[in-house]
């Protein structure tokens, strides 16, 4: 618990669970959508891809997802997605999103961190369930009949998911067993996308995405006292994905899992944390791309020494050791070509000093990275929680990160047939074992006015040096206009700075009406994939005690993505090239939530109908790949 509080204290945004009892915000995505830093490729798939405020890199995200204060490090091909962690199954208490360089006892987060906090296991037997169903529009079917030669490159999609859990606490032992599944598939007419068709296996492409998930949580001890938590979870999946590492879609199947243990206040002066994250991934052979597979794991042990000090001063010394492994079969031709094994260890210090009016949080970390480099990171936060002139927080930090194994040793090869030249060209994405460590250094100043309405302003500035990105290499072999499948290589691309200002207000107009507004400006000259302007306004109305409506409007200015920019002179097929720009868009979302109380044999029945992106046919957050379309999602949660 202390560990959670420590991390909470680091947070810039801690979004309280909205409207207790009405369960408006249940999923990681619900929280992520409310921030200015998360870009959601798809509504019905509930996939948040994190691009933290100017710090994350879309092509190879740093550690960004944390649970039990330990980073999850087995996302397939660096795809940071809640789809690939059994978190959405959890009954969440809160999700916190840090948008600046951060440290915890067992991880460093140069690009910020999404931390998930599950709800407390209840003292009585609870059997509950959730069912989601979503539909996302794609192409206009009417046009299939009224127009000729349509590409139909954006198909209609449907997603269903459901989960059930049983939990209880017997004496001091609590348990929660959760299982669930998630299916997502395309419907409508067959894809005629010229970009996809030449290299995908169409019958395979029509197969649905499926995820089967399960998790078991065991706890021992009362809150705020000695506490042991064991969490094990898995996700067996088969899915079409457009993942950051690859320049194209791929059909993947595999299993990932995690088991993590924490023991706090059980042993005098020492807390213990340990985990094993692992993924077994394979890709089918496609037209133009050979199949491949790999197994990766991260095993870590992380004791934290608690040094007793007087008064409101707390000192902790976290130490960690982790073993990163990649294992491939002989003659594997994709992802990794040979086995890899790397160690890293770290030693840190955490100091917390608290008085009646303010507190100081200082963290330092010395680490041997998996590329052999010595990494030095430090953060400090000075927080005045409240007062007449308002509360103020000052955070500064500099966090260094080692390149990942995929960035250093990854390999992906595919072929494209070029009809005009009657030949295949090879496109290759390669890792780079000469990558240097990158460092993110930033400050964040948060000022909150006292009283109501709550008004908060945040100034932020972050500079990242030796940024790791996938950059295009060699001549481009475009097969069709707009075909932006690029060969590339991971490289350090110099430094960039992102600075800006965010202002938000949350006001309760009446007992039943709440209004939230936010505007974020980012000076994005060096980070053009981050929108310069973002604005959001939302209103929540409780019509009657059991019925709630929420509407929100979000506007995002255009973004430019270097990975997809193409000089016309290098576009050998069409000469058109691409500016790599995703245009600005506005989206309107609305939700209806109805609490049905006890219905039939079910208790606490809550239904929610949500419509996302109400006015748009599609919204594209980066130049190619999946889109967020108009979507309708229905939810029902209940207890037995």
């Amino acid at each position: 618990m202390m560990r959670c509080l420590t991390v909470l204290a680091l947070l810039t945004i801690s979004l309280a669970r909205g409207q207790q009892g009405l369960l408006l915000d249940q999923r990681v995505t619900d929280w992520a959508r409310a921030t200015s830093s998360i870009q959601l490729p798809s509504a019905t798939r509930y996939v948040p891809v994190a691009v933290a405020r100017g710090l994350g890199t879309w092509s190879a995200p740093e550690n960004t997802f944390s649970f039990m204060s330990m980073p999850f490090e087995a996302f397939p091909l660096n795809l940071v997605s809640a789809d690939y962690f059994p978190a959405d199954l959890l009954i969440l208490d809160s999700v916190s999103i840090v948008q600046r360089p951060a440290l915890s006892e067992s991880g460093s987060f140069a690009g910020g961190v999404i931390e998930v906090f599950p709800s407390e296991i209840p003292d009585t037997l609870v059997i509950g369930g959730r069912v989601f169903g979503g539909s996302e529009t794609g192409d206009v079917i009417l046009h299939e009949y009224t127009r000729d030669n349509l590409a139909f490159c954006n198909r209609n999609k449907i997603g269903f998911s459901g989960s059930g859990s049983i939990s209880n606490k017997v004496h001091d032992v609590g348990y929660r067993l959760t299982v669930g599944s998630f299916s997502y598939f395309s419907t409508g007419y067959a894809d005629r996308d010229k970009i996809l068709i030449p290299y995908i296996n169409l019958p395979t492409f029509s197969r649905p995405n499926r995820h089967t998930l399960g998790s078991l949580e065991l706890t021992y001890g009362a809150r705020d006292h000695e506490n042991v938590v064991v969490f094990g979870g898995f996700n067996a999946f088969q899915a079409w994905e457009h993942v950051p590492f690859l320049p194209s879609f791929g059909f993947f199947s595999g299993t990932l899992g995690t088991i993590r243990v924490s023991m706090e206040r059980v042993i005098p002066f020492v807390d213990l944390f340990a985990k094993r994250d692992a993924v077994d991934l394979s890709m089918q052979r496609q037209l133009g791309a050979e199949g491949g597979s790999y197994r990766a794991s991260v095993v870590s042990a992380n004791p934290v020494l608690r040094v007793p000090l007087a008064g409101k001063i707390a000192l902790r010394v976290p130490v960690s050791y982790a073993l990163h492994s990649v294992d491939v079969d002989d003659n594997n031709r994709q992802f990794f070509l040979e086995d890899r094994q790397k160690e890293n260890w770290s030693v840190g210090i955490q100091l917390r000093v608290e008085s009646d009016d303010w507190r100081v949080e200082a963290d330092g970390r010395y680490e041997k990275g998996i590329n052999g480099s010595r990494l030095r990171s430090a953060t400090i936060g000075i927080i005045q929680p409240s007062g007449d002139p308002g509360s103020i927080e000052l955070h500064a930090g500099s966090v260094e990160r080692s390149p990942t194994l995929l960035e250093m040793y990854g390999e992906y090869t595919m072929w494209r047939y070029r009809p005009d030249l009657a030949r295949n060209d090879t496109l290759r994405v390669q890792g780079n074992d000469q990558l240097k460590t990158s460092r993110s250094t930033g400050i964040e100043i948060v000022y909150t006015l006292p009283g109501e309405p709550r008004i908060r302003g945040t100034f932020f500035s972050t500079r990242t040096e030796n940024l790791v990105r996938r950059v295009s290499s060699g001549a481009l072999r475009s097969a069709y206009p707009g075909d932006l499948v690029l060969p590339g290589r991971y490289a350090n691309v110099g430094s960039r700075t992102l600075a800006g200002l965010e202002i938000e207000t949350d006001s309760k107009l009446t007992d039943r009406v709440n209004v939230t507004m936010r505007y974020s400006f980012s000076a994005n000259k060096h980070a053009p994939e981050v929108p310069r302007h973002q604005v959001m306004a939302g209103v929540t109305v409780i019509l009657i005690p059991s019925t709630m409506i929420r509407m929100s409007v979000k506007g995002i200015s255009k973004t430019r993505w270097e990975e997809f920019r193409l000089d016309p002179a290098r576009d050998e097929k069409s000469g058109i090239g691409s500016d790599g720009i995703a245009p600005e868009y506005w989206s309107v979302d609305c939700s209806f939530v109805q609490d049905f109380g006890s219905t039939w044999f079910l208790n606490n029945v809550t239904a929610r109908l949500e419509m996302q992106n109400l006015l748009n046919r599609e919204q594209r957050t980066f130049p190619i790949g999946v889109t967020t379309d108009f979507a309708v999602i229905g939810y029902v949660t209940f207890r037995l």
Binding site: T137, L142, E144, Y145, G188, F596, L615
Partner: protein, 190 residues
Amino acid sequence: MISVARICIPAMAFVLLTGTVRAQEVDLSGTRVFLAAQWVFPQKEFGTFWKDGPALGIVADLPLGAPVFLSGLVIASWHGPAETPRKHKIPQVLLLQLGGGMAIRSDLSPSLAGSVSAHLVNNMFVMTGPAVRPGIENAVESEFGISLCAAVSFASPPFPPVSVTGSYQPILVGPEPVSIVSIGFLVGLR
């Protein structure tokens, strides 16, 4: 295309939101139900390639507190292909509107009332006939629209109330929305 989900999810929502709201919260006894008969005129691309057609349906009003009503509708209309060079490629369309929204009514006299309403409508374009092309599944266009409606109602007991209605609904099928205009009348069933 949405097949089952697109039909079931809005249907579930409207059943939940308008039909079975817990009795202790909303008085259902004041619910009024009408039979709707309309003529629907497709506009823009929908009107270019499809003809206008008859519609039948049900409209229900649930009083929330004078003069505001929660309103729901289910209306089906039929549209054949229009006389265009593409007529042989155009299937017949069954347009099923499933809507919910709010209405405001004002009594003009003891027997005459006027009302305006706005509905969020899920429009399902169900393609039928030999011109339908095979899809991965049955191809049904499902699009949302916002229907704006005005009505004048006449009530003279013991005869059922009768309303004359007109509505305009842009249907948000993308950057170039289509629309429909409907005129007709309602006859009270309860």
